[in-house]
Amino acid sequence: MRRLLTLREGSIVVVTILAIAYFAVANDRFLTSANFKTLLPYFAPFAILAVGEVMLMVAGEIDLSIGSVYLFAPFMFYEFHQLGLPLVVDLLLCLVCAALIGALNGVLTAVVGISSFIVTLGTLLGVGGLTLIISGAAPVAMPGAEVHTTTESVKKVVNGHTITLQEQVNHVGGFARVFGAGIYSELIWALLAVALLHVVLRSTRWGMYTVAVGGNRHGAAEAGIKVRSIVIRNFVLCALLAGFVGVLEAMRASSVTPDTAGASETMFRAVSAAVIGGTLLAGGEGTVVGALLGALFLGVLRDGLVLDGVSADYLDFILGFAILIAMAVNIYVGRVRKGSGHA
C-alpha cells in the first residue's frame, strides 16, 4: 500500500478501486463481462483524448479544441471518401487535417503568443462551425462501417441433441473493426496510446523537454530547448489523437452527427480525466497512466450509476460531486505520498 501510494498515479488508483468496489457490492451485474463491454466506450475514447491533453498540460498549455477536432475529423473522412479515395487514405488525410488544426493552435500559442486557452476556445468554436458548414448540419453514415446482416445456420447442442438454428449475424468490414467498430478496438488503441506516450513522456528527450517547457519555460530556453517547437509538436499530437478518436467513435456508431455541444462535453470529460489522473493544469507535472485511470474512474462512475438505475436527471449532479470528492481524496493521498519522500 505504501509503495502504491508513492507512485504519482497512486491516489487515482485508490480512488478508482474504491469506486469499483462500491459498485461491485451495490450491484451484482457490475462485475460481469457484459458490463465490461458496456463500460469500454465510456472510458477508452476518453483515455486516448486525455493522454494527448496530458502531454499539452505538462508543457503548460491546454487544448479545448479537441472536442471540435474530434467531431470534424470523421466528417472530413466522409468527404475524402466521397472523392473516391480508399478508406486508409481517407483516414490519413483526415488525420492530416486534424494535425493542421493542431499546428495552427501551436503557432498561435507559441509564436503569436496568445494564451492557449483563448486560442483553442477560438478553434473549438471555429472548427465546430466549420463542421456544421461542411455537413450542412446533417449526420452522415461512416463509409466502411456499413453493417451487413446475413442469416446463418448455427449448430447448437440443446439437452444433448444437436439442432440447427437460423440466426441473424451482423457483419462489419475489417477496416471498421480495426478502427473503432470491433468490441475491443478502442480499448486496444487506448492501451497502445497510453503505453507509447508513457514511454515518450518518461524516457525520451521529447518528454523531458515537455516537462522542462512546462516547468521552467525561460530556463528551458536558456538551456537551448526549442520551446516553440516542443509546444507546437504537442499541440499537433493532441489534435491528431482527437481526430483519430473521432474516427474511432464514428466507426463504432457507424454514423456521425454534427453535435457541437456533445463535442464540447467530450472535451471536458477528457480534460477532467487528465486532471483527475494527477496532471497539473499549471504544467510541469503529469502522468499518462494517470489519465487512463482518470478516464476509467469517470467511466466506472457513469456506468455504475446508470446500472444502479440512477435517473438521467440526477446523473450529472451526482457525477459532479463524485468528481469533487475524488479530487479531494486525490489531493489528500497526494499529501501522504509527498510525506513519504518520493515524487
Binding site: S203, R205, V211, A212, G219, E222, A223
Partner: protein, 260 residues
C-alpha cells in the same frame, strides 16, 4: 579600453550593441578573453552584464557588432550552436527545471540516449552525474529527487557542475555565488581556482564581491551603463580602486538625478 588583443584570444566581442525598445542595454562593447584566463566582470545591476553573457552564450542576438570564437567570426543561430563551439553558460536564474531530477537537470539538452531507439540512457547518466559531483566535491545524497527539494546552494552547485563538467572550454558564470552560503560559495571559488590552475578552460565570471574577483580572476572588466569602462589585470588593481570607481559612478548618478 581593451588592452592588447592577441592571437591567444579564445573569444572576442567586438563593437557589440544591444537595444530593447528604447533602452540601450549594451553600447559598443569590446571584450576579449585569453586562453586559460579567468575574467571577472563587475557592474551595477542593469549595467548590461547578463545581456552580454546571453549574447555570448547564443541566447540573444546582438543588434550590431561581431563575436569571434577561436579566431573565427561567428553569428550564433542558437544556444546549441554556441555550445557546439565550446561556449556554455551558468545563467543567473540557473535554468534548472524543478520538476526534473538531479540527473535530468545535469543532462538537460545534453542527454545521452540509447540506439537505435532513442530512449534516455538513465543508468549511464546517473553514473556520470555521480562522478561529476564527486569530482568537484558536491555532496547531493539522492540523485533521483526533483531539484525543487534541494537547497538553493545545492541547486546552484548542480547548475555550475553541469557546465564545468561539459565539453565547454569557454565557461560563462553569471553570479555563481548568488544563492550560496559561505561554505558552498567557497567550494565554487575553489572549483574556479582549480580550473584556473589546470588552464584548460577560459572563464568569464560575473560577481559582486571585489575580494572574490581579485582572488579568483586574472583580469577584471567593469561595465557601466552598457559600456566597458575599465580593464586591468587583477594584479594591477585593488579593492580600493574598484570601490572608488563605483562610488564615483554612484555620485554622478545622484548628481544627475538631482539636476534632473
Amino acid at each position: 579600453m581593451p588592452e592588447t588583443e592577441g592571437d591567444d584570444d579564445v573569444l572576442r566581442v567586438e563593437h557589440v550593441s544591444k537595444r530593447f525598445g528604447a533602452v540601450t542595454a549594451l553600447r559598443d562593447i569590446n571584450l576579449h578573453l585569453r586562453r586559460g584566463e579567468v575574467l571577472g566582470l563587475l557592474g551595477d545591476n542593469g549595467a548590461g552584464k547578463s545581456t552580454l553573457m546571453k549574447i555570448i552564450a547564443g541566447f540573444q542576438n546582438p543588434d550590431e557588432g561581431r563575436i569571434v570564437v577561436k579566431g573565427e567570426q561567428v553569428s550564433f543561430r542558437d544556444v546549441d550552436h554556441a555550445r557546439s563551439l565550446g561556449i556554455d553558460c551558468v545563467y543567473q536564474d540557473l535554468a534548472l527545471v524543478n520538476e526534473l531530477d538531479v540527473v535530468q537537470n545535469m543532462f538537460l539538452k545534453r542527454e545521452l540516449v540509447s540506439r537505435p531507439i532513442p530512449l534516455l540512457a538513465r543508468r549511464v547518466m546517473r553514473e556520470r552525474t555521480r562522478e561529476a559531483l564527486e569530482r568537484i566535491g558536491i555532496n547531493i545524497p539522492r540523485l533521483d529527487v526533483p531539484v525543487a527539494r534541494l537547497s538553493g546552494g545545492q541547486r546552484q552547485a548542480i547548475a555550475v557542475a553541469r557546465t564545468v563538467t561539459s565539453e565547454a572550454d569557454v565557461i560563462l558564470l553569471d553570479e555563481p555565488l548568488a544563492a550560496m552560503g559561505a561554505k558552498e560559495g567557497a567550494m565554487i571559488l575553489d572549483l574556479v581556482q582549480q580550473l584556473r590552475e589546470a588552464g584548460e578552460v577560459s572563464i568569464i565570471m560575473i560577481a559582486h564581491n571585489y575580494v572574490h574577483v581579485l582572488q579568483s580572476c586574472d583580469r577584471v572588466n567593469l561595465i557601466q551603463g552598457g559600456e566597458i569602462t575599465f580593464d586591468k589585470p587583477t594584479a594591477d588593481t585593488s579593492v580600493e580602486e574598484l570601490n572608488e570607481i563605483v562610488v564615483e559612478e554612484y555620485r554622478r548618478a545622484r548628481r544627475a538625478a538631482q539636476a534632473g
